[in-house]
Amino acid sequence: MITTDILIIGAGPTGLFTVFEAGLLKLKCHLIDALPQPGGQCSEIYPKKPIYDIPAYPEILAGDLTHKLMEQIKQFEPGFTLGERAETINKQNDGTFIVTTNKGTKHHAKIVAIAGGLGSFEPRKPKIDNLTDYENKGVEYIIKEPELYRNKKVVISGGGDSALDWAIFLSNIASEVTLIHRRNEFRGALDSVEKAQELKNLGKINIITPAEVKGILGNDNVTGVAVQKKGEDAFIIDADHFIPLFGLSPKLGPIGNWGLEIEKNAIKVNNALDYQTNIPGIYAIGDVNTYPGKLKLILCGFHEATLMCQSAYKRIFPNKKYVMKYTTVGGVEGFDGTKKEAPKAVVKAIQ
């Protein structure tokens, strides 16, 4: 069991900055994120895109913002459970919470801060009638263990980077790799596109375009897919695995069933006070929350995180007196023993 003061669900910019504000109050944080890396949308969707409304940064790339936040919170030694989705929450008799992920990892925390953005990123599933019948029976949306495909016949569909890159990678492992895309053109790094062309010329990848997978064949497990080229009759390709790679899209997911008040696909919070939800001890900050006048901006998430941490402190230590301190005055004392502070002035006569 992982124990912490504040369990943050979502490691996007708001979740990451929460670690800093909590750290100033000597509260420890642990983050859960369904993605395998921190940064949320900033690292998953648009790492190379500029953001212009982070105060004091006239321009910063979303990926760089993530790196700088990670640097800023380093001394507060946050824990991470990455690649897992927060699934269930149980309030204990003492008012603390146990949050369990889809992989069964348990987290015990005094406070839960949901900084889940638009939700957890889930694979986009193409519209094929019997697709879900074959999930984990030959249909996979994410490649976790390439060895699974050794000497197997694999069909990949999709036209982006991940479809190209996995087709290339698996061409050395699988007995047969077929890449199917609705267009003739692929969108990917130049290297990947050229490599795929080369492998096609060598007969190591079959590329079928413009075409779509229309159905899946098999009894218990996948044995083939029905493929249709535009304007032609469908034909069958033998396959042990079908891997549709159409990117990820965010879904609110299990958090929607935690008994929290939901409005407009977001969690209602008290913005007059501290961004707490209808369940005391559970807060929602950043893009995942809603209140009158809400703006889904990173800079608003930072503000919400700051107020939320002060409230969390009061909840954890109801009888302890505290006033907010400026970092310029108090410095930043890390849990790793480091201390950052303003250089001290000397008082010395000049002869």
Binding site: Y46, K127, G159, R187, F246, S249, N265
Partner: protein, 109 residues
């Protein structure tokens, strides 16, 4: 700057007569959101970067629209429910030339 009139059919099939400003650098996705014609969180998920297809719509009228960028074209190549008249709303700027435009929102992914 003038306002223009649009007809937008929402995902439940209801057509709305909409007035949209041409002087606020808005795009079609943002107009849909400003009138709340699709539920928040189901449209404009990527914020308008042509990196999701949640604002996909079908163009029903015969307007000359701005040419598709490579990004939009590539995104539509991976989107679902794509038709020949599919566009991403976030890539269509509201300009006076679009007076009378008729669009229908594509189903949610």
């Amino acid at each position: 700057m003038q306002d223009i009139n649009l007809k937008i059919t929402d995902r439940t099939g209801v057509t709305h007569d909409i007035v949209a400003p041409t002087d606020m650098a808005m795009n079609l996705m943002e107009v849909v959101r400003s009138y709340e014609l699709a539920e928040e969180g189901t449209i404009g998920i990527c914020g308008g970067m042509a990196m999701c297809a949640s604002c996909q719509c079908y163009i029903k009228s015969d307007h000359d629209l701005p040419v598709m960028s490579d990004d939009e074209d590539a995104m539509l190549a991976e989107a679902f429910n794509v038709e020949d008249n599919s566009r991403l709303g976030c890539q269509i700027q509201i300009t006076p030339e679009l007076e009378g435009l008729e669009v229908e929102l594509a189903p949610e992914d």
